[in-house]
């Protein structure tokens, strides 16, 4: 661009002290808040019972238990960012886990092939959601509520009362599911790797930024010429594939696949995303926040009994947390809004 404009003298954007600015903005971020809450929870619980953190199993459970939910929460966050929601992930997880179990039982396919098949199957189930949402223009809530029933029904009908036991699963996979590397369980490594990839995707690629754009204002996305249908399909397919992978992780960790696998976990995934700062109407929030939300929710579940609160109250705490998170979000959004307005008045 070689053009110049003789417009009124610019009051150039004031370059603030960037380092200080970064620090304050880091502190203001939702992810930081969740991380602090998580650490506080750890500290308190460990103080009550040192085993919570300082025992082999305590450490392992801390890092291992959230792995599956983290997978789902990452996918869920992507879908919610595009102003949709995927309620079918629990059923997808169940169906792919059973599919994997059956493949182990009925075919001699190598583990890696089965894993790929399960992930692909999850992606296809997600794609079905995506196609219905993008082309029939029906809200994702309704579509995925429908597929939640359908996928679960298919799994139950297919499984009948057959149950897949640990003895049917290749020992290699089971060992992998319970093993660790550098003191961190393998499954946790997988979920962390996925998280890193997802963060990269959402922050630094066009696909990710367009997810945000579509969720922020679908009409503007059309005017910008973004391929919104394709992006919605991609978001759902990714969520499905992650649910498929979560199915495999489930198999490798628990070894047993019964009819109830993954039932109700979709709401935990949505809850993790919401607690992690993903706005339910799209456009804002991060996968890191969702993953931290998943860590927080799972760890609370495990911490309550240690803290002497009967585990029956877990759900209530999770609910209160979700409400608290969205109320807090709204409060900060309002403050931010007022601040921006005030800045505008000043200018």
């Amino acid at each position: 661009m070689t053009t110049t404009l003789d417009a009124p003298a610019p009051a150039a954007p004031q370059p603030r002290n960037r380092a200080a600015g970064r620090l304050t903005s880091l502190l203001k971020q939702r992810e930081t808040g969740i991380a602090i809450a998580f650490v506080a929870l750890l500290v308190v619980t460990t103080a009550v019972n040192p085993n919570f953190l300082f025992s082999t199993d305590g450490w392992r459970d801390l890092t291992l238990t959230p792995a599956i939910l983290v997978c789902l929460a990452i996918g869920q966050a992507m879908v919610i960012v595009t102003r949709n929601v995927d309620l079918s992930v629990g059923s997808t997880l169940g169906l792919t886990a059973y599919l994997a179990g059956r493949l182990f039982l009925d075919t001699g396919l190598p583990v890696i092939v089965v894993v790929l098949i399960a992930v692909a199957a999850g992606a296809v189930l997600g794609l079905i959601n995506g196609v219905l949402v993008a082309f029939a223009k029906v809200p994702a809530l309704v579509i995925t509520l429908g597929t939640l029933y359908i996928y679960r029904g298919i799994m139950l009908e297919w499984a009948g009362s057959d149950r897949i036991n640990a003895s049917d699963i290749p020992p290699g996979l089971l060992d992998f599911g319970t093993g660790s590397f550098l003191f961190i369980p393998n499954l946790a490594w997988i979920s962390l790797a996925l998280l890193a990839a997802a963060i990269y995707l959402m922050r630094s690629t066009r696909v990710g930024r367009e997810f945000y754009a579509i969720g922020s204002d679908p009409a503007a996305a059309t005017l910008y010429g973004l391929r919104d249908k394709r992006r919605v399909l991609q978001a759902f397919a990714t969520s499905g594939a992650l649910a498929g992978l979560a199915g495999i992780l489930y198999v490798s960790r628990y070894g047993t696949i019964s009819s109830g696998v993954g039932q109700g976990i979709e709401l935990e995934a949505v809850g993790a995303a919401v607690v992690g700062g993903v706005a339910i109407f799209g456009g804002s929030g991060t996968v890191l926040g969702a993953a931290l939300g998943a860590y927080l929710l799972t760890t609370i579940n495990r911490a309550l009994p240690v803290l002497g609160i009967p585990d029956f109250w877990q759900q209530a705490v999770v609910g209160a947390l979700i409400i608290g998170a969205i109320v807090l979000d709204r409060y900060f959004a309002r403050r931010q809004h007022d601040k921006l307005l005030a800045e505008r008045e000043e200018a």
Partner: protein, 508 residues
């Protein structure tokens, strides 16, 4: 035909939606390095034409040439790629994303791993903003920016595209004087750099001040193209309407009676301060001012859909409780809002439901209401206002702007109000219906209704109002009698400054 191909040329472009022909013979020829005005009434087909140029619609017939080359865009991304940028009346930005991201969305610079080069983006934006003289922080979200700032971002976007054709669809509709000046400066600069600019506006003063050439459209068809110096405003108006327009403002004599609406010291921080006004029986009071002066906000606060911090509203001697439109309606206040599609009508509901919505409580004598009761009431009022529709279950959103406005008026007159507040009574409706609405307001005043009329059209204010109250930046700057209210006096009051913080760049 000149030898050099025009930057943008459309020949007899047609577009139909089902059996409706929105555009029949859309033609436009814009040379590089010129600013071309495109004018026409609402429904003349301008927007359809723009959307075809932008790649949002695909034409059914005709030629679309860019620099002499036939083009056929499948989507807006293709058009952008070819150097066509469009700035819409309402900026379309992603509120959650940063200013920088908004400018580059969909075409961010990436490295070969697909990673977005944020630093490059930011550098370019800083440079663009420096050239435009825009003091906007590139990393802030666009949420909370004023319309004017958002429009500047749209312009920055167009600049970063290196657009050869820039279309501005009513960009000034929501801008204040300063902001319009700045926009015009930018447009001229772009022209001087060889860009072909298409400027769509209803404001003839701007068109005549800015443009080199003017094309008129009417009823989806091309009418004429002339150098701006070769035509007068009257000639253009005549072509727009297709006939002689007479007596646009049929002001009737009315007896002014007792005060019906008294507003005392109404204040809402940041929006309006200490507004006091009185409207009497049979009187039309004009509320004038630039866009953003706080006129609509005052009206909405009086009616109760918006809150206010202090002050009071008295209707026919009784105080109107704040924040309760339902009570205000019951007491005899009616309010025709500015944004008809958003606030005035339930677009997806039938005419009958729209007309009876504020009166449903009254119509339900036994506590119950039926479609029959609604239809009887609605038919009466629709007939009085001559709403053009075959049946009462026609969905309001399918009516023309003028007919929609009639439905809104029918709805409010059916409440038998004592005071009518009407915000932009004739925005976006055709000239014929315009004079009908004016005649109606005169008649109503003559029958004793107190009317508070907000309008951005100076002739309308001057032609209709008995008294004019002028707001500037939320402050009441003048109250002028019909005799005192000259265009100059009103404009002076409308641009009067109240706070020292706002006297910026008068030089521009």
């Amino acid at each position: 035909m000149p030898d050099t191909p025009a930057a943008l040329e459309l020949r007899d472009v047609a577009k139909s939606f089902g059996p409706v022909r929105a555009l029949r013979t859309g033609s436009l020829r814009v040379e590089a390095g010129s600013i071309h005005a495109l004018v026409g009434e609402n429904g003349a087909g301008k927007s359809t034409l723009v959307k075809i140029v932008a790649g949002l619609y695909r034409r059914d017939a005709g030629d679309y040439l860019l620099a002499g080359e036939q083009v056929d865009f499948r989507n807006t991304a293709d058009a952008k790629q070819a150097g066509v940028a469009v700035i819409y009346q309402e900026p379309t930005l992603f509120p959650d994303l940063s200013v920088t991201e908004n400018i580059f969305m969909g075409r961010q610079p990436t490295n070969r791993w697909g990673k977005i080069d944020r630093a490059a983006m930011r550098t370019e934006v800083v440079e663009l903003f420096a050239r435009l003289g825009v003091p906007i922080e590139p990393d802030r979200p666009t949420e909370g920016l004023s319309i004017a700032d958002q429009q500047l971002i749209e312009i920055a976007k167009a600049l970063s595209l290196d657009a050869k054709v820039l279309i501005m669809d009513e960009p000034t509709a929501a801008l204040s004087g300063n902001e319009v000046d700045r926009l015009m400066t930018v447009a001229r600069t772009l022209r001087d750099q060889g860009c072909a600019v298409v400027f769509i506006s209803h404001r003839f003063d701007e068109v005549f001040a800015l443009c080199d050439t003017i094309t008129v459209m009417r009823d989806g068809a091309y009418i004429s193209t002339d150098p701006i110096s070769a035509v007068t405003e009257d000639e253009i108006v005549q072509r727009l309407v297709g006939r002689e327009v007479s007596n646009l403002y049929p002001k009737l004599e009315a007896t002014v009676g007792k005060p019906m609406l008294e507003v005392k010291g109404l204040t809402r921080t940041g929006l309006f301060h200490d507004i006091s006004l009185t409207v009497r029986e049979g009187e039309i009071v004009g509320l004038a001012g630039l866009v953003g002066a706080g006129r609509s906000e005052v009206a909405q606060a009086i009616f109760g859909v918006d809150p206010y911090e202090s002050g009071e509203v008295i209707l026919d001697g009784r105080p109107v409780p704040p924040g309760e439109p339902r009570r205000a309606i019951e007491m005899g206040l009616a309010f025709v809002p500015e944004d008809r599609r958003q606030h005035g009508l339930v677009l997806d509901a039938p005419i009958s439901r729209n007309i009876t919505l504020p009166t449903s409580g009254r119509l339900a004598r036994t506590g119950l209401i039926s479609t029959g009761i609604e239809n009887r009431s609605a038919a009466d009022w629709a007939a009085r206002l001559e709403v053009k529709a075959a049946t009462l279950d026609t969905v309001a959103g399918t009516l023309s702007g003028g007919n929609q406005q009639k439905v809104v008026l029918a709805k409010w007159l059916s409440t038998q109000p004592k005071v009518l507040i009407i915000d932009e009574p004739t925005r976006g409706i055709d000239v014929g219906t315009k004079s009908e609405v004016h005649r109606l307001l005169s008649t109503l005043a003559q029958e004793g209704l107190a009317i508070l009329m907000i309008s951005s059209e100076l002739p309308e204010v001057l032609g209709m109002a008995d008294r004019v109250i002028v707001l500037s930046e939320g402050h009441q700057t003048a109250e002028l009698s019909r005799e005192e209210a000259t265009p100059e006096a009103v404009m002076r009051a409308a641009t009067a400054h109240h706070s020292t913080t706002l006297n910026v760049s008068e030089a521009s």
